[in-house]
């Protein structure tokens, strides 16, 4: 159900699962950066092996990663085809007006395809091995320096964690209201687009009203339990940076070095 927000977490106890979420989040972004250092097949092979190694270490079924690519497949193919038809250079295999199929085009198309797949695999690895709550802790921790600019970091993290906590509750409620409206003869499944849109209204209105009531109850309960904003609060859950996290950073440093050397 949390799929809507943060991808789907697969519980496990692998090395990757146990890494600090801050490190994982930052290294996933870093990976998107260093992928642009690759310009030849050796460096792409290196990145491919490195990614597959990480995927295997997570002990999550490869199928989940391939499924992560599927929603984006049209975007990927479109970009790759543009790259192939508009790049000139090397041996020319075919041409028609401004369109060509050249040696460079094919090679670049292949590289772009690899780039997409590797980025998707790495970010899927992050969401498959990190519970959403840990990601929200990581975001809080990473944003902490921005407190200087009066960014309400603690409140943002609390908002994310409450939102995540209420996703299943609201899904249940949606289901209940849908059943109640079905019993009154509302048809959610069929009809034209405008009919479907109209069927949504008797679903959305009770859902909104209930959510506001919930929010008010929750605010009262939080106040009754002494909540006065982020100032002066202590934290029950803390993130600890361990040796293995430094090791992961070191692995990325080595890969960066190799990529530069291969250029």
């Amino acid at each position: 159900m949390n799929k809507l927000i943060f991808g789907r977490y697969i519980p496990g106890d692998s090395f990757i699962h146990r890494l600090d979420p801050r490190g994982k989040l930052l290294l996933s972004f870093y990976f998107i950066g260093i992928i642009f250092l690759a310009h030849n097949w050796q460096s792409y092979l290196l990145l491919f092996l490195f990614t597959m190694f990480a995927v295997l270490m997570s002990r999550v079924n490869l199928g989940f990663f391939i499924r992560g690519v599927r929603p984006l497949i049209w975007l990927i193919l479109f970009t790759v085809i543009l790259q192939i038809f508009f790049t000139r250079g090397g041996h020319l295999y075919w041409h028609w007006g401004p369109l060509v199929v050249s040696q460079y085009g094919l090679v670049n198309g292949g590289y772009i395809f690899m780039r997409f797949v590797l980025i998707i695999f790495m970010s899927t690895l992050l969401t498959l091995t990190t519970p959403p709550l840990q990601l929200s802790d990581a975001i809080e921790s990473i944003l902490k320096p921005f407190k200087v600019f009066h960014l309400p970091v603690y409140e943002i993290a609390l908002m994310i964690s409450i939102a995540l906590r209420f996703v299943p509750t609201l899904m249940d409620e949606t289901e209940k209201i849908m059943n109640a409206q079905r019993a009154r003869g509302v048809d959610f499944g069929s009809g034209s687009l405008s009919q479907k849109m109209r069927a949504i209204i008797p679903l959305l209105i009770p859902l909104f009203v209930n959510s506001f009531n919930r929010a008010e109850d929750l605010a009262t309960a939080m106040e009754a339990r002494g909540y006065q904003g982020g100032e002066g609060r202590t934290k029950y859950r803390v993130l600890t940076w361990k040796g293995q996290d430094t090791l992961a950073v070191a692995a990325f440093a080595v890969i960066t070095g190799l990529l530069i050397w291969l250029r």
């Binding site: 709550l133 964690s161 409450i162 995540l164 906590r165 299943p168 509750t169 249940d172 009531n213 919930r214 109850d217 929750l218 009262t220 309960a221 939080m222 106040e223 009754a224 339990r225 002494g226 909540y227 006065q228 002066g232 609060r233 202590t234 934290k235 029950y236 859950r237 803390v238």
Partner: protein
């Protein structure tokens, strides 16, 4: 025994409600260690009264009265001190679960009060043990029953070590099993830790646990008495906002045909026992 709560001439008027005040000239006291039940039909002002005690309603200059909790008079300056002495459990188990998991939720109140982390861990574990939820510590609320969620809410209160616990229809959304578990936990806190309990309820079994019952009607205190005194009203209890169970209705019906039924409150089993033992005497 000393009074832990003293309410003197309390009136409250919601700004949105033009005509009717929600509370009018309410006076009552609660003794330390006592279990007080508050009954009354829907809209009689029970929740308004509970929220007033915890300073959760927007103060308004035209609302008069005084509330004293453990010797402190409720004002803007003392409200956080008083909230630390009172734990509140509300009606809807879902709408008061703030944490992402059971232990996070129990820790929420401690985090708010800046309790250092090692002490926090100790208090969270002790509180979960107390409500027998230790093995659920890392569960998300979506995977708990209503009764379990209410016990987590009680654990959150135990961890804060208050003097008073207020239950505002906290068992009304639970199934009989969940209700019994929550009540057993509260009874234990009342008897072993001498926590003062105020329970707002429509459930006669819950009201029967109390030392005293206060009946609210239209924002006013209508009656105060022991459960035996209040339950003697029989049929009229329904007007007072209690769901009268089968055994009580049977008693009233038997009394009407001239049977000498006992005055004190009986559960369904107690009633059955009384029926078959009394028959042999006839």
């Amino acid at each position: 025994m000393a009074n832990i709560i003293e309410v003197t001439d309390l009136s409250y008027h919601y700004p949105q409600m033009e005509q009717r005040p929600a509370l009018q000239h309410v006076n009552f006291t609660v003794q330390a260690g006592e279990w007080l039940a508050i009954i009354g039909h829907n809209g009689s002002g029970k929740s308004t009264l509970a929220k007033s005690l915890d300073g959760l309603l927007t103060p308004d200059p035209q609302n008069k009265g005084e509330i004293k909790v453990a010797g402190l008079t409720l004002t803007d300056e003392t409200v956080w001190q008083i909230r630390a002495k009172i734990g509140m459990v509300f009606q809807n188990p879902d709408n008061q679960f703030v944490g992402a998991t059971v232990e996070d939720d129990v820790a929420f109140g401690l985090e708010n009060r800046g309790v250092p982390r090692p002490e926090m861990q100790e208090r969270v574990h002790a509180a979960l043990k107390r409500v027998r939820m230790t093995e659920f510590a890392d569960r998300e609320p979506a995977r708990l029953s209503g009764g379990q969620k209410q016990r987590v809410a009680i654990a959150g209160i135990i961890a804060q070590r208050p003097d008073i616990i207020i239950l505002d229809e906290s068992t009304s959304m639970l199934d009989p099993k969940g209700r019994a578990e929550v009540l057993a936990t509260v009874r234990q806190l009342n008897q072993e830790d001498h926590l003062t309990v105020i329970s707002i309820t429509h459930d006669i079994d819950e009201a029967a646990q109390a030392n005293r019952i206060v009946v609210l009607d239209d924002g006013q205190v209508k009656e105060t008495g022991t459960p035996a005194e209040i339950f003697a009203y029989g049929e009229r209890l329904i007007e007072m906002g209690l769901d009268v169970p089968y055994a009580e209705r049977l008693k009233t019906a038997l009394r009407q045909v001239g049977a000498d039924v006992p005055k004190q409150y009986l559960t369904e089993e107690g009633m059955a026992d009384w029926l078959w033992t009394s028959h042999s005497k006839m």
